[in-house]
Symmetry: C2
Subunit: 310 residues, 2 copies
């Protein structure tokens, strides 16, 4: 490592060392491990990996706030049992099942019929006013500083960073370019079908409930294939929902590869959890696999000297 570390918010521990060694190894020309720039694909989960997912995934907080705003004027909306669960804060019901059917239903109900422009405006309005219940900041002010450094470090070394998240692609695209410097075409998330039409002569795309692709679990390698079309050499996640894409990136990859798991261990500065079976962020099976697979486990309390921007 040089005199000035490119990852100053990371402590000088084995986790940081493994990342820097990997990047130096694949960027050294004329060696067997060299990876050409177009193949330096890095994929990052978002919720719990680049920003928190507690006490609720932030998009769930958005949906609940939207329902509170809209339900009084739309009684047919509040009649739905899953909307009632959301309004009552019953997140376990929304998140139950591998595909989070309740949440998907509420997302569909709140998003269907909106144009993409209307949706963007609604998310922007929410970001401008909503505050995280514990940290008292706008949600887009709560991304992890060490991870923003890591994204910049990879970019400086010719990597192309992608987000591969179970969250909605359209939701992340509203703010991710500004916050992570990741452009919309490098954001893969859950998506619903949109319908194109000329309305009063102007092109409009309207969200529908016809088909929803859930980019989580086994859906993540499928999404990576569909959107990127080649295997990543670096994959960063924090939960069992990321295990499939960690496997896909690192097992049997003809190129050198690095898997990284962010472990939430810091209840002082952030949250401490891994086994939370009823919500997102459960990290049991992937943590067990990390040793055998050689994935780097980042202990947030030990490995990061800063969590959020001051």
């Amino acid at each position: 490592m040089g005199a000035v570390s490119p990852l100053s918010f990371w402590n000088d521990t084995a986790a940081k060392q493994s990342i820097i060694e990997f990047v130096e190894r694949v960027t050294r020309p004329d060696t067997p491990d060299f990876v050409a720039e177009p193949d330096r694909i890095a994929v990052f989960d978002n919720d719990g990996t680049l920003w928190p997912e507690a006490p609720l995934p932030f998009q769930v907080a958005y949906v609940i706030d939207e329902l509170k705003r809209r339900a009084p004027a739309e009684p047919q909306l509040s009649a739905d049992p899953m909307v009632q669960a959301a309004l009552g804060g019953d997140v376990a019901t929304l998140m139950a099942g591998a595909r989070h059917d309740g949440l998907m239903r509420v997302l569909a109900l709140t998003h269907a019929g909106m144009t993409t422009g209307e949706f963007n405006s609604a998310v922007q309005m929410w970001l401008a006013s909503a505050r995280h219940p514990r940290f008292g900041r706008g949600y887009d002010q709560l991304t992890y500083e060490p991870q923003r450094q890591l994204l910049a470090y990879l970019r400086a070394n010719g990597f192309k960073n992608f987000i591969v998240s179970g969250g909605g692609a359209d939701f992340m695209r509203v703010w991710a370019e500004r916050v992570y410097r990741i452009p919309p075409e490098q954001i893969i998330g859950s998506t619903g079908t949109v319908k194109y039409e000329l309305r009063d002569g102007m092109p409009e795309l309207t969200k529908t409930v016809d088909y929803v692709f859930v980019n989580d679990g086994d859906g993540k390698p499928a999404g990576i294939h569909q959107y990127i079309g080649r295997r990543p050499v670096m994959c960063v996640g924090n939960s069992d929902g990321d295990q499939a894409m960690l496997e896909y990136s690192t097992i049997g990859n003809p190129r050198p590869s690095l898997g990284v798991l962010i472990h939430h261990t810091d209840d002082q500065r952030e949250y401490r959890y891994d086994a939370k079976p009823t919500s997102s962020g459960k990290l049991v099976s992937a943590l067990q696999a990390a040793g055998e697979r050689g994935w780097t486990v980042v202990d947030m309390k030990v490995d990061w000297n800063r969590i959020f921007a001051d």
Copy 2:
């Protein structure tokens, strides 16, 4: 225009002029029409726009060759009426309907159950041996030279080029990076769902017939939104199937934009057609709209001094 034209395979006609004027206009800093680099998104149709689509779209030729190769050993395959249509060369039946249901069925039948690696190998083998019936060359040797110059010219001016095609994304990705210098993550096409699994401990993605997204007609702006997440400022197509994405790129776009239609007018060097209702490449409605919309129409016979590489 400078002394050395960047588009030497284009004649000095109005079509070339309109492209160069547009690129110069949006790349001149400190002017109202300046477009920042991340927003310089250009989308290109493939069949009939970057390479020929006659006498058959090249992927249809691939599928028919695949069926001929596989049918003798797989009688359940040849029992299907659409497979029989394909083996008999009845392309009109395969291409009938806006969504080309027959072709989609044959694609599904031939692709389902293959891993992505097996599919890549099959396409590569075909490219190495199959020859175009009229030109006697491998299909990947038949891309349009003026268009490869245009792609390079746009790239040199900070544009990011995407393919937005009704053809299969996986089919194009096998050869498009080598031929067009467009990486797989910038290729949007029709896609089927893939299923992820660990097979004997190794990650595999297998093609299924569960859901097929057809990236044509109104599907093209929907695909652009889903994959790119912002409106292109330049759009190049050649058929009515490209009209929706031409509209989406140029009508009411807050940024300056350019729509381009390639018109097949040269039966000596390539093909001459526009109204072919039973196959791909029908160009009637979009050609009528071009005047009103201000789209540039490229007359291949007049505007291009070369079609293919020597």
